[in-house]
């Protein structure tokens, strides 16, 4: 009690504000890292959706081995051959110049995608069977 004059309170207002900054920075760093880790370690999807020029072309289950002809362009002359095998999807062959999409690694994780720019085809892995599209209920109130 009588020491208050010799040893001032260690946590003055200024100190506290400095500590606040450290706390806030630490929180943001931890959460951003956790978010990144969660994104990187995300699970497998269960389907791929194919979009052509932004429009839905089809949805195909990853659980079933299948081959899908994605025909685009005038009269369906442009072709991407999508193959689903052992739960992974890849483009086996394509008529696009360059054929970059055929060299993409097989995809199976939620959010992974293969893009064929010349044909405007986007193939994306989704989690449809789960409740992946349901928003988080807004419960702050």
């Amino acid at each position: 009690m009588d020491q208050t004059k010799e040893t001032p309170k260690p946590e003055t207002k200024k100190h506290k504000l400095r500590n606040d900054l450290i706390l806030i920075a630490a929180l943001v760093v931890v959460l951003v890292l956790a978010g990144l880790a969660f994104w990187l370690l995300r699970g497998e999807g269960d389907s791929v959706i194919v979009e052509v020029n932004g429009n839905l072309y089809g949805t195909y289950s990853l659980a079933k081995d299948q081959t899908v002809e994605i025909r685009t362009g005038e009269g369906g002359t442009e072709l991407n051959l999508l193959v689903i095998k052992d739960g992974k999807a890849f483009v086996e062959s394509a008529t696009c110049p360059g054929g970059d999409c055929t060299r993409h690694n097989p995809i199976s994780r939620e959010g992974e995608s293969i893009v064929c720019l010349p044909h405007k085809v986007v193939i994306t892995v989704k989690l449809v069977g789960g409740e992946g599209e349901k928003p988080i209920p807004d419960a702050v109130t």
Binding site: N19, V32, I136, A139
Partner: protein, 165 residues
């Protein structure tokens, strides 16, 4: 005995204010509608105020009664579960940080706001299992910080200015 009655009346009043603030917040235009869950958390001003001026138990009581009331009025068991996950983690963090006495009310408020979001996301991880939560977490970390600073400033002002006998 009289003290006790007065305290109960005050807690009831604070609960009502917290609910009004929650309602005001719904009326405000959404800050960022692309991601659900982004809110200022105005009711947290009351929770912080009660935490600083009355104590942890009182703040928990106000928080819980408010959540139950909101769930009964507008919500369902699922939204209540999310409220509870966020509210409990948030209040626990604020109570501990306040106890430590290392941080000002702003730091305490930011931790409370951010952990409110974290509690909800942790629950969502079990329920939804979608990778989108990873990027929600990053966005909510940043917005929770900004909102927490604002709430902390308001709460600090209230703690300093509001008086009762």
């Amino acid at each position: 005995m009289k003290k006790r009655t007065q305290k109960l009346a005050l807690l009831g009043l604070f609960t009502a204010i917290a609910m009004v603030l929650a309602w005001v917040e719904v009326l405000l235009p959404p800050l960022f509608s692309a991601v659900p869950g982004i809110k200022l958390g105005l009711p947290n001003i009351v929770i912080i105020f009660v935490l600083y001026r009355m104590g942890v138990k009182e703040a928990a009581a106000v928080s819980l009664v408010r959540m139950v009331a909101v769930a009964l009025l507008f919500g369902n068991p699922m939204t209540f579960a999310y409220s509870l996950a966020g509210g409990a983690l948030s209040l626990a963090a604020m109570a501990i940080l306040r106890r430590l006495d290392f941080f000002s009310i702003i730091g305490v408020s930011v931790a409370g706001g951010v952990l409110h979001n974290v509690g909800q996301i942790l629950l969502a991880m079990f329920v939804l299992r979608t990778a989108k939560l990873g990027y929600y977490m990053i966005i909510l970390a940043v917005t929770g910080t900004v909102a927490g600073i604002f709430i902390g400033l308001c709460g600090g002002l209230a703690v300093k200015r509001v008086k009762w006998s």
